[in-house]
């Protein structure tokens, strides 16, 4: 499958199934769009009619370009065949290991953000903290179910994990004490709102956590609109200095400053630029997840504005990279040479199969976004997965399982999308959250364009 688009002065052709990326001139762009549906003579005649006034566009030239396209097709770099559907089902059916857990160590929070998908950390339930015993069993459960996988990931999540920090430390210590024995390598992530972040905690997090995710929505007025404490006081002035100090001490280890944008700040690039101007270089910004009836839900009218924002972001990032002050944006991190294999691309995030969320009581859910929805309770960390019917639904989800994805050029970039988003938008994890798809496709178009611009800059620097 081929996807063609024009962005930031580039004519871009993606060959979905091989992962090939081409930049072409106007003539080749039009020839490629006609290649499969027209004869050589028809293409030549059409091109001469449109571009014949240009000195380098002759019948012979067009003929050569068609030959080049045929060579790329022959080499499997253009119009390559989609042969992965069967693989998508067999791979997931045969893969029974669990390799990542989202540990909900605190179902409570010291902020009261009205837009929180987790209802201020309670997940539509009671407030609770995970005990060391429950957490320890979660690690034992993970190791017992991880097969030969060496890299295991555990995310300390909430609510706010700082409210149960002693247990976080005890669990890390426990995991480190057993990882060699089982030939495992734990990678920890800690997701925090930054309200409680002492020097001692920073030192600890920087030593033990492979990644920290720091929640900040951007500009003070944007952040403080939702991210407030129970007295109504905004969090910006507390968390920004904390995050700046933590990141400085982190000395290059992974982190993300992660925000959420809503209908209230459709100009979210200004929030990302603000984060960058605060000195943060690893950024992520996600569209809000909420019912469409919420006043801050993104609307259809917002969509073209958001497209424009993603383009503005991409162009500004190229500019800042050239100026020697780059920052990264999670969704634009695309490594065309060392990206994921086909199995990752067709299998998706692994929710409900290789990735699960654990509640403070030890219940298992397909991911953090399903926690509290009893229909999706999979089992618990003592007895394992008992609700195999629901797990099978997740096992069935892949890049090909949704009818709408079948002919979509982006399916090997998103793998069919987020099951939770599908569920919330359509009532089924097998549905398609079309709004999210539109945003996702735009982000990939921008990300690929940025890769092309960088490759071109590197080439120019070498020559």
């Amino acid at each position: 499958m081929v996807h063609q688009y024009k962005l930031n002065g580039y004519n871009i052709v993606l060959d979905t199934c091989s992962g090939s990326v081409h930049t072409v001139d106007e003539v080749a762009y039009d020839i490629i769009s006609m290649y499969k549906s027209s004869s050589r003579e028809e293409i030549i005649s059409s091109m001469l009619e449109k571009y014949g006034h240009m000195p380098d566009v002759t019948a012979e030239e067009i003929d050569l370009c068609i030959d080049d396209i045929a060579s790329l097709e022959e080499a499997g770099k253009l119009f390559s065949e989609d042969k992965f559907e069967k693989l998508a089902y067999t791979y997931k059916n045969n893969s029974k290991v669990i390799k990542a857990l989202c540990l909900h160590v605190a179902h409570t929070c010291n902020l009261n953000c009205s837009y929180c998908f987790a209802s201020q950390g309670k997940y539509q339930g009671d407030r609770a903290l995970m005990s060391f015993e429950v957490g320890k069993q979660a690690f034992d459960f993970l190791i017992a179910n991880s097969g030969t996988r060496r890299n295991l990931e555990v995310d300390f999540f909430g609510g706010e994990p700082a409210l149960n920090f002693e247990v976080v430390k005890q669990l890390v210590e426990y995991a480190r004490s057993i990882e060699k024995q089982y030939n495992k390598n734990f990678r920890f992530t800690y997701t925090t709102n930054g309200v409680v972040l002492t020097d001692e905690m920073m030192e600890y997090l920087n030593r033990e956590m492979s990644n920290v995710v720091l929640s900040l929505d951007g500009r003070r007025e944007v952040n403080d609109h939702f991210r407030r404490d129970y007295s109504g006081k905004g969090s910006y002035d507390t968390i920004v200095p904390n995050f700046q100090k933590l990141v400085k001490l982190r000395e290059g280890k992974n982190y993300y400053v992660r925000g959420t944008f809503t209908h209230n700040n459709v100009d979210f690039t200004n929030d990302l630029f603000h984060m960058a101007d605060l000195g943060f270089t690893e950024l992520s910004m996600e569209p809000v997840v909420c019912p469409p009836t919420d006043p801050y839900a993104l609307t259809d009218e917002d969509l073209p504005k958001l497209f424009e924002q993603y383009e503005i972001l991409a162009v500004e990032m190229i500019k800042r990279r050239r100026e020697g002050r780059p920052f990264t944006f999670y969704h634009y991190m695309l490594d065309l040479k060392n990206g994921p294999c086909i199995y990752k691309r067709i299998a998706g995030c692994g929710s409900g199969t290789e990735y699960m969320a654990v509640t403070p009581w030890g219940d298992l859910y397909p991911c953090h976004q399903f926690v509290g929805d009893k229909k999706y309770l999979l089992g618990n960390i003592w007895d394992g997965v008992k609700n195999t019917e629901i797990q099978d639904e997740f096992r069935h989800c892949n890049a090909y399982s949704r009818e709408d994805c079948r002919d979509c050029w982006a399916k090997l970039y998103c793998s069919g999308g987020c099951a939770a988003n599908s569920y919330h938008a359509t009532g089924s994890i097998e549905g398609v959250y079309k709004y999210g798809c539109e945003l996702f496709k735009k982000r990939i178009e921008c990300a690929v364009m940025m890769q092309i611009a960088e490759a071109e800059d590197n080439e120019n620097a070498d020559s």
Binding site: V13, C17, S18, G19, S20, V21, H22, T23, V27, C65, D68, G76, K77, S80, F84, S95, A100, C102, N151, E153, R187, N211, T260, S284, E286, P287, V289, Y330, H331, L334, D335, L336, K337, N338, G339, P340, C341, I342, Y343, K344, R345, G348, C349, G350, E354, Y355, C367, H368, L412, Y413, C414, S415, G417, C418, A419, N421, F440, I444, A447, I452
Partner: protein, 46 residues
């Protein structure tokens, strides 16, 4: 090819035979937590 420039990329088709080790990061563990993107994950089996 003077009208077409091909950017160097990983050939996805070839990874049918040498991929699938499963050691790479779970997408949601990194930063998004609310959407699925697999293309920006790093391969651990280079």
């Amino acid at each position: 090819m003077n009208r077409i420039k091909t950017v160097e990329t990983k050939d996805i088709v070839k990874t049918v035979n040498n991929g699938g080790c499963g050691e790479c990061q779970t997408s949601c563990q990194s930063a998004c937590k609310t959407s699925c993107g697999v293309a920006n994950q790093q391969c651990e089996n280079k």
